[in-house]
Subunit: 463 residues, 2 copies
């Protein structure tokens, strides 16, 4: 072997000198990889849903959006970020006694896997939710999605494990399960938000088939897309069922702060006397999405061996260290400052925006009633809060229907089939009120009514 020929040594600031290279393979017909050799989730249409919906929105920038579930941004300002960051630094100096070196290290270096604002999130849970939990049982994550993925990863030991999820369900849940090859068994939501009889039957049926139902995922408050909320009695009965059947409950809680009439119900975690609930939290709707901060409350005791216990949160953290190492300390600092500025109350932090959501939701429901007076083949539910209303229409709602609505009527919404695995053909769609300026709701509804009348008139299902 001859000695390697090195190119001349450039200064480190300059790009390294490359030897002359053969031309890049120009044959356009050659593919480098074949999708059939990659993991099945990557070509699953399920995982393309969000991309498709964003693309439609991107192609029709002038359309009004009754589709976006993103938070209302009218009260945000980039200067809030600078202020929140300074507030968190002041907290480190004044309440924790950090010197400048430690402040700098906390924000700019790697950090604790379970996060650095776990104490502030624990305070929020106590102040707003009446949940008193050891801060050590909290894992701060890169958005709620990572918290969900970590929990699923932990609970899926092998191919016998299955997850239950109240149907219809947000694509982030079924998508993350696909990524882990974790089957999801749908549970009927019924009119209460979860059909407990169906849940029990599904658990028994899975066990009879040799499977292990590990947990049931649900959004007890104003679920996406149905807007349904579990009553207090249903919450208590669900917790009893989880205890009897030895399954966990994965409680996702992005919308609990936004009831229509002011009343809030206790979260499952607040009622959880037997540590049956892993509570999944998001700050995207209460701080802002750009920080990408979520968390899991996982206070379960896990037996590792005789006399050897560990918090479930610590095992989730182990998985996290191999997914994202830790959650950006910088983002945590901004979210932490935001919490501190509002006395660790997200209810207080969202006072203004909550009024926007209430006003928009009332206007939407009233506006539907005005435009589709009973009796009408167009019906909808009236949720007690949150962002979403499901509308049933007298025609099939496909992605092509959405394209037509966007192009011809200038209004976006979400076909409900995106919330069902297997993509059935449905006559339902979801409206969301969160991203709209209050002044635009009526205009959006006019456009929506125009679209519905056009389709209903052309449809064999119209009256």
């Amino acid at each position: 072997m001859t000695a390697p020929v090195r190119p001349p040594l450039p200064a480190p600031e300059a790009a390294p000198v490359r030897p002359p290279l053969p031309a890049r393979d120009a044959a356009p017909e050659r593919a480098d990889l074949d999708a059939s050799g990659l993991h099945g989730s990557l070509t699953d249409p399920l995982l393309s849903a969000m991309t498709f919906l964003n693309e439609v929105a991107g192609r029709h920038p002038e359309a009004l959006s009754l589709a976006a579930g993103t938070p209302y941004e009218g009260f945000y300002d980039v200067e809030d970020v600078h202020r929140a960051l300074r507030a968190y630094c002041a907290h480190l100096r004044e309440e924790r006694g950090y010197d400048e070196r430690h402040v700098r290290r906390a924000l700019l270096q790697y950090g604790r896997t379970k996060g650095i604002i776990h104490d502030l999130i624990a305070r929020y849970l106590s102040v707003d939710e009446g949940v008193d939990v050891d801060p050590e049982a909290i894992v701060v994550t890169t958005g709620c999605q990572e918290a969900l993925l970590l929990t699923m990863r932990a609970l899926k030991r092998d191919e016998r494990d299955v997850l239950l999820a109240v149907d219809p369900v947000y694509v982030g849940v079924t998508g993350a399960a696909r990524l882990l090859d974790l089957p999801v068994h749908p549970v009927a939501g019924g009119t209460d938000g979860v059909d407990l009889g169906d849940l029990r039957r599904r658990i028994h049926r899975a066990r009879a088939a040799g499977q292990r139902p590990r947990a049931c995922y649900l959004v007890p408050d104003f679920a996406n897309p149905t807007g349904l909320r579990l009553s207090l009695a249903t919450r208590l009965a669900l917790l009893d069922l989880a205890e009897q059947e030895d399954v966990l409950l994965l409680e996702d809680n992005p919308y609990g702060l936004f009831p229509l009439e002011g009343q809030r119900l206790p979260t499952l975690k607040a009622l959880d006397t037997n540590r049956r609930v892993v509570h999944l939290g998001s700050l995207s709707k209460s701080v802002f999405p750009g920080v990408r901060i979520g968390f899991a409350v996982a206070d379960q005791q896990v037996r590792q061996g005789p006399g050897d216990r560990v918090l479930f949160a610590d095992l989730l953290a182990k998985a996290k260290s191999m997914v994202t190492v830790n959650t950006a300390p910088l983002s945590q600092a901004v979210a932490g400052g935001w919490l501190l500025e509002h006395g660790c109350s997200l209810a207080r932090a969202t006072q203004d925006v909550r009024e926007v959501y209430r006003r928009n939701l009332r206007q939407l429901v009233d506006g539907l009633a005005a435009r589709f007076p009973a009796p009408s083949p167009v019906t909808w539910n009236t949720p007690d809060g949150g962002f979403f209303v499901v509308v049933d229409v007298p025609f099939e709602v496909t992605d092509a229907t959405l394209e037509y609505s966007a192009a011809r009527h200038g209004v976006l919404w979400t076909p409900l089939h995106h919330f069902y695995d297997g993509r059935p053909v449905l006559r339902s769609l979801r409206l969301s009120i969160s991203a709209l300026e209050p002044d635009d709701v009526d205009d959006a509804l006019d456009r929506f009514a125009g679209f519905v009348h056009a389709c209903a008139g052309a449809s064999p299902g119209s009256p």
Copy 2:
């Protein structure tokens, strides 16, 4: 069924009122979950390595660290964050013509799955690395770890797929593979950084066993922990081998900017004429770790069906949407501002810190020679750059040896067995120079020599 009894309706700002609840299950002997029912990765000692090493460091705050691979923080300041954020906002306004509403939305809302600073990362790749790549082929990730995980997820279709990795290897690689139940086959590093004969044999052996070797992971520049760098000739031969054997190369490049003598070699991606390389980048060592920004360059064409091609980056993005949704736009904005402030040259951005690393590495290698003059049973390699030196000592190096070193000699380092799957008993350890103040290197070496002499004197392996 009776109507659910609702508690009094609190104001939304107040914590919801809970009904009287039974006392929390106080039986301390009851565990809620059993580790044997959870995914095997969570109880794998491999995934505890980082935690253990951090714990030792935490218990001995006064010890000098030749263990930490974290970047030198002497040049950081929290005000840099504010400045970088303003620089990115100015860029959006002035170069992209964003109004305030769009700036706010870009930073504070959800964002593009593949990221918002892909264009700036593409500029860095061109300026510093001579790599010209379509920005659309870049996925911005929550640290390099997520880029690695996504790539592994994509490449593991089923239980036949295996990853090759040059041994010894950073625990983040084997750990992420464990999380995905992806077997990792070690490839000898030899003295060149990769033993190409062994790589080819491993590929053939795996295929003969019915497995599919998909890719080989390696760090061509100053690998962790060996400090080895692939010569240009080895790089070119490795690319040829990858093409002949139809495997990908996963090139991880955290240390390439830090050569000892100024010369840099082209990255594998810069030499990659046939799109065989997925380049995994990290900004943790060149911007700062607290932003948690990494990226994958995945310009492979993936065939999805007749005439249907997609960039591999777009499939990684699909997986990403189910892991973290998107990378915190706020963090990306800070990293983007940092890039802009240095003309998108990370080589320029790291000019000061590079001098620290050089000085520390020279001081370490010279200091070892002064303290263990030849002939000595203590030997070490002399890398051409980066952070790490491997030291062979005449006694077995276990976690208990590290505890002893920290407690009795006030110096931390990393047992080399943490970089080997299966945890063999070794007589080697890794020293790192990145986190030390230059003035502390000699003191750390004095302590280290004291520790080595104490152990060697007590060891049957001593001369």
